[in-house]
């Protein structure tokens, strides 16, 4: 494939797929955006996970665990997409831990009360839905498919947040007060999620041209505000913006844009919780190192045993296995049979030290919403795929053999059963 073939696909609103040729800039933009998205998913677990132990009802506790779990899942889907572009999860995590790559700034604000859990979900997951629904049409196929799954789950997050707040709005004076205060705290951080204004956004133009992004920061922000206003009314809360009002000429609400200096400050690491969030993430990663190493060591031992049984060079097998697990658990492709009677389809990928854990993770990650009745996991390095470069040689010749299709032979009128 060449630049002109790539441009033609983009212009024709077709998807770019795994292993297709792509300009370096396209690849880099995608990796940057997907990494930032993935980091935001896993960092975003913290402000809410902090409230799981204190959730005031068992039903809310269950919903909150499920939501935080989804965010981990989103991180996994997205790191797997980045891997299709040649990035490695381990490197991306290093970049996050060392502060070289960023995550969304709202995560650096504190969740002070139970109402903050609802406000965070209603506003920031709501903003994420607006952003990601638009991104589902992104030009990179694996990213678009991951986003479809993510969007479905984000709407659950958004909805449960609103539901939590709505219950508070019908509650005691203290509950209603905490609702109002929490919404005031999260309004600005949510608006800031759409990034700097279009006039200042450094990456927007090229991302739009490549159809990685499908709407500008300001368009999405406006869409979000317009959606929030009636919902806030239903909750009986005041959105903290004196300039917020309907503008009949524009057909949109006017509002005060978020404080970009503050956004830039927080992105640069100077928000109220940046230090703690990153330290927490780093600590979890470091404290988990011995576990990951143990699983890798066990997998290597098992590989050596199997090699010995098959009488192939055990040393070589260990070397291969150790190579594969030294830095990171190997990648597995997951195939799910959605129901009896249909074939397994590719769902995504994950990392696991061995097949047993790959199956466990696949079950948790890709079938937790009743999406399957059977699973296959295959080591990614065992898969052989046709080369996109040979697409024409492989698949074009079928196009001029229309006589293979029954529809090539229209039956004479009145003749049936053919």
């Amino acid at each position: 494939m060449s630049i002109s073939a790539f441009d033609a696909l983009i212009a024709g609103d077709q998807k770019i797929e795994y292993k297709d040729w792509m300009p370096d800039g396209y690849r880099e933009s995608l990796i940057r955006q997907i990494a930032q998205h993935a980091h935001s998913e896993i960092m975003g677990m913290q402000p809410e996970a902090a409230w799981i132990s204190r959730a005031p009802s068992l039903a809310r506790k269950a919903v909150l665990i499920a939501k935080v779990q989804d965010e981990a899942g989103h991180g996994l889907y997205l790191y797997a997409v980045a891997e299709t572009l040649g990035a490695r999860r381990e490197d991306l995590l290093d970049a996050l831990h060392e502060g070289r790559q960023k995550y969304l700034s709202f995560i650096n604000y504190p969740t002070l009360t139970w109402a903050d859990v609802g406000a965070l979900a209603w506003l920031t997951d709501g903003a994420a839905v607006v952003n990601q629904v638009s991104l589902c049409r992104t030009s990179y196929g694996p990213y678009a498919r991951a986003l479809v799954r993510i969007c479905r789950e984000e709407s659950f997050h958004h909805r449960q947040g609103f539901d939590l707040l709505y219950t508070l709005s019908q509650g005691t004076p203290a509950q209603r007060r905490s609702l109002q205060e929490a919404v005031e705290r999260w309004w600005q951080p949510a608006l800031a999620m759409f990034g700097p204004p279009d006039s200042l956004s450094t990456h927007s133009a090229s991302s739009m041209a490549w159809r990685i992004k499908r709407a500008t920061n300001d368009e999405l922000r406006q869409r979000f505000v317009d959606l929030c206003v009636p919902q806030a009314e239903a909750l009986g809360v005041r959105l903290p913006d004196p300039a917020l009002r309907w503008n009949p000429e524009r057909g949109h609400h006017d509002f005060t844009p978020p404080d970009y200096d503050e956004l830039m400050r927080v992105v640069a690491g100077h928000g109220p919780r940046n230090k703690q969030r990153l330290a927490h993430r780093r600590r979890a990663h470091e404290e988990g190192a011995w576990v990951r190493e143990a699983a890798a060591a066990h997998a290597a031992k098992e590989a050596a045993k199997q090699a010995a049984a098959r009488e192939i060079d055990a040393q070589e097998a260990i070397a291969q296995e150790v190579d594969a697990v030294e830095e990171e658990w190997p990648l597995w492709e997951v195939f799910v049979r959605p129901r009896r009677g249909v074939g397994h389809t590719h769902a995504g990928s994950l990392r696991a030290p061995d097949a047993a854990l790959a199956l466990h993770s696949a079950r948790d990650l890709y079938t937790r919403r009743e999406e399957g009745v059977s699973l296959w996991v295959v080591p990614s390095r065992s898969m052989t795929s046709s080369d996109p470069e040979h697409k024409d040689a492989y698949f074009a010749p079928a196009a001029d053999k229309q006589y293979r299709h029954a529809s090539f032979f229209p039956p004479p009128e009145g003749v049936e059963g053919l």
Partner: protein, 243 residues
């Protein structure tokens, strides 16, 4: 109060406190895949707790629902074993707790799914499937840590040693007539499961010695009060509020 009510509280409290502990791993698991797995286990345990406590409340007929039972009872009114109160410790300790608890729960739920009492049997049948997966997950990790690196072997061994004294309580005589089983009879099959996993993990079964007891009568460890305080305080700070 009927024996069945008390029994349901015990089943529900075991699951609830286990869920509370398992969920403490959220956002601090050793690997992202384990985030998803541990959250799944916590959700299963919490679902079991809610089913048992809801049923207990209905049976009592005093208008207490799952939340009243979870958030408004004091420490001494909880009927869970002390095993589930133990702090999570490192990942090996959590794996050990999960293995030893879920192997017991799986045997227990499987038996209870055949109980004459239909509602109890129904809840247990669903819980048995869930706990079977927990056993599988914890076994896989016990083996990987036990047979992994020298460090992980040491930690897994220490974890099993540390948790072992708290397992005896699981098999103490304690059951409603409706359950139709003697907990002591579960220990044999439980040891079979545990021995197989420990063997594969190159670990020895700890010697039986001091045995924790008292949870079923409401006597708990020093760790339990803080766990409840954290779990209950928001609910209790707003008397009568809906959530």
């Amino acid at each position: 109060m009927t024996a069945l009510f008390d029994y349901l509280l015990g089943l529900g409290d075991d699951a609830l406190v286990a869920a509370q502990r398992t969920a403490e791993w959220c956002a601090r698991a050793p690997q992202l895949e384990e985030e998803v797995a541990l959250a799944n286990i916590a959700l299963d345990q919490l679902g079991q707790a809610r089913a048992f406590l809801t049923y207990a409340g209905e049976l009592e007929g005093a208008g207490r629902d799952e939340d009243a039972l979870a958030f408004l009872r004091d420490e001494h009114e909880f009927r869970n074993v002390q095993l589930v109160e133990l702090p999570n410790g490192d990942f090996a300790t959590t794996v050990a707790k999960t293995l030893l608890l879920s192997a017991y729960q799986n045997l227990l739920y499987t038996r209870l799914s055949r109980a004459a009492e239909p509602q109890l049997a129904g809840i247990a049948a669903k819980a048995a499937k869930e706990s079977a997966f927990h056993v599988s997950y914890a076994s896989v990790w016990t083996v990987r840590l036990g047979d992994g690196t020298p460090l992980s072997h040491r930690r897994m061994r220490d974890a099993v040693e540390e948790v072992w004294p708290y397992t005896h309580e699981l098999f103490e005589p304690w059951a409603a007539p409706e359950a139709g089983l003697d907990p002591a009879a579960l220990r044999g099959p439980w040891l079979e499961v545990v021995d197989r996993v420990l063997g594969e993990a190159t670990l020895a079964r700890p010697r039986d010695g001091w045995a924790a007891t008292g949870g079923r009568e409401g006597r708990h460890t020093e760790w339990f009060g803080p766990l409840l305080a954290e779990m209950q305080y928001v609910h209790r700070a707003h008397v009568g509020a809906r959530w």
